[in-house]
Assembly symmetry: C2
Homo-oligomer: 146 residues x 2
DNA sequence: GTGATTGCAAATCTTTTGCACTAAA
DNA sequence: TTTAGTGCAAAAGATTTGCAATCAC
């Protein structure tokens, strides 16, 4: 599995990222980007990020959190991880990798792309092309504390 | 990928299945089981099954469809497939297998377990055990017609 | 200024729940 | 009968949308 290698971005980097993505560095977007990209890789839900922002004294409406998460995802700064119907997780690790999912706790943990080798793979049907391969290892039992 | 091998169950088989699962063979459950298990393997949503039942002249409330899908899943007659946040698919193929997911159309297609070989796999952390491994190959472009 | 962005509240969508009613055993 | 199962309508979550107010440039 992947140690939560940091992708620390300085305040300047964050502004850069947003500008390159064509997103105005508004107060809200910068605040959310700091929370998301300021430290280790993380998996977070809209609700979770919203709460976290509030905890840091930044008021951002939930609708804006949703908008921002989708804009960041479209810009390639985030990746959406689908492991739970009815709840979207966003992953700050956009490298090729996979996940452990603790079904009991809802916790998500990265597995580096190299740690999983898929040696046989069916060809994608006719004109379709592979956008991504997601491997989710669903776990039961004692989740390692986060 | 997996040809939709049928698991045709005769009316008698269906009653058997339900009884073994400890589920009373009510009119609604039998009707839904026929739609689900009467032919090829399929991937269906609650809403979809509800509509299909209505199309066959069987009235079943949506709440009952949800209840039934979950009961069938708990009984091992169905498997839930999570590929789309905010919508649950149920798969009548409960064998070990994986999926192609056409992101454009939402179509889901089986890949037999043997067609995908995962040769390296990280050990599950500490006391956790692997409940299931899901491989989803997300596709873009021309979906083969169903 | 001007157009992009935000906040709020309402709307939407999927799924669950409470409870009186119905049906299987 | 007796208890499981069903239907309905309301509730619960997660997410989206419409639109006036606000902010970045």
């Amino acid at each position: 599995m992947q140690s939560g290698k940091s992708h620390l971005r300085s305040p300047g980097d964050i502004l850069q990222c947003l500008r390159i993505a064509g997103l105005r560095p508004t107060r809200q977007r910068v605040a959310l980007a700091r929370l998301l990209f300021g430290g280790d890789f993380r998996h977070i839900t809209a609700e979770g990020l919203h709460g976290e922002a509030a905890g840091h004294g930044t008021h951002v409406s939930l609708a804006t959190v949703y908008n921002t998460l989708h804009q960041f995802t479209a810009a390639g700064l985030l990746q959406e991880v689908v492991v739970d119907a009815g709840r979207s997780y966003f992953d700050t690790n956009v490298a090729d990798h996979h996940h452990f999912f603790y079904e009991d706790s809802g916790r998500l943990e990265d597995i580096s792309g190299q740690a999983v080798t898929i040696s046989a793979l069916p060809a994608p049907p006719d004109g379709a092309q592979i956008a991504r391969i997601d491997v989710v290892i669903r776990l039961r039992g004692r989740p390692s504390e986060a």
